[in-house]
């Protein structure tokens, strides 16, 4: 039951070209009403992207499973907070997932100094994990092309911030850059990605 008005408002769509974009939103709205079967459909659709992202950030397999479970429990618990007028269900879930993964690595007391010594900075590459799902492989291609459109410096800042879970201040320390430069690179890089991936309003 999505009103026409909501369709006009819900116009930030990263996945407009995909015919399966809407069912996730519809299912989340049902989950908000306590529909457990709809929740299972949400899980089946998006567990792969969630687990993959969490794994990429948290790395440890056991903790990745824990965090993934936390993410889906939070999806269930806070489903009433999902507002289709503000963005897609996909983005809502992945934002939740990313936040949880980042909180986990930050609470693991891994200091920047330790990371620097371990050369973690050099380990950040978005495609170390080979995607198992066909859709993910197709998506990889488009994302790879989009990432190619960035400058090396923009790509580096985004990789550290998004996949590394670092705050922008930590990124500035790691790269020995002024805060303003990091903010600019993040912003410019993401805007380029946004345009390359066709995320429109």
């Amino acid at each position: 039951m999505v009103s026409n008005e909501a369709r006009r408002l819900r116009s930030v769509r990263g996945l407009d070209r995909r015919s399966d974009a809407d069912p996730l939103d519809e299912n989340l709205l049902r989950v908000a009403r306590g529909d457990q079967r709809a929740f299972e459909q949400v899980y089946d659709r998006i567990a792969g992207p969630v687990f993959g992202l969490v794994r990429r950030i948290v790395r440890d397999p056991a903790q990745s499973e824990e965090v993934t479970q936390e993410v889906f429990v939070e999806v269930w618990r806070t489903a009433t907070r999902f507002d289709p007028a503000r963005g897609s269900g996909h983005s809502w879930v992945m934002t939740l997932a990313h936040r949880r993964a980042v909180d986990r690595v930050r609470s693991a007391q891994a200091s920047i100094d330790r990371d620097l010594r371990a050369g973690r900075r050099d380990q950040e590459r978005p495609f170390d994990v080979v995607a198992e799902q066909v859709e993910a492989r197709m998506e990889q291609e488009q994302v790879r092309r989009a990432l190619d459109s960035l400058t090396d410096l923009q790509r580096e800042a985004i990789t550290l911030a998004y996949y590394g879970g670092y705050t922008y201040r930590e990124v500035a320390e790691l790269l020995e850059l002024p805060l303003g430069t990091v903010k600019t690179r993040l912003r410019d890089g993401l805007i380029r990605l946004r345009d390359a991936l066709g995320v429109t309003r």
């Binding site: 792969g48 992207p49 289709p84 992945m94």
Partner: protein, 243 residues
Amino acid sequence: MTADIHTLAAAYATNALPPDERADFEAHLDGCDACSQEVAELQETVARLSLAVAQNPPAELRARVLTEVGRVRQLPSQLPVAPPLSGSARPGWLRGVMATAAAVVVILAFSLGFLTVQLRDRLTEARATEQRIAAVLSAEDVLTRSAPMSGGGQATLAVSPSRDAAVLLGSGIPAPPDGRTYQMWLTGPEGQTSAGLLEPDADGHVTRIASGELADVRQVAVTVEPAGGSPQPTSEPVWVARL
């Protein structure tokens, strides 16, 4: 510093803000459309990035998640902003109804076009509910349907097309059998949609508000379902109102 805050949208969208800055930025977002817009777009963008690293989790995780979810309560829905009542005196029967309504209240907002405000304590919640119920009941075009519920109790549905809202008020409703719950349904051209679960309080009172997208609703019904509700009704209704 204030001028700089807009430049943090990208950092916020990648969860790259330390906690104190995140709180400040979220406060800023409430009043800044441009940043809200940018954050929404950039969150979609990085969500797309994540698709490229998708990996199937172990099969056992699904069962663990579903088990835990069965034990976790959901947050209640956010309430729409209530249209303020005019200062005129309320009829006596309305006061009685509102006193009933303030007892145990569950709110369900359907329409996605409503502006929602999160209310912090039960008193404020009850007051807003009161206003919303009163708005429906005092509307010039209010229609009511009243009927006994099989199994006990009486329920009245009041619908106001101009307010695009409906209120279901029940009294004397017995607790459902063990392991079962009452569920409310709206029937429209696409079939039946759940309007949520109904839980009578100790005095047998039930109140439910449904708002938005009611123009196509032909019928409102209540069935008894397994605890937790069902995606579609699985039994004959214990109460029906046709509109």
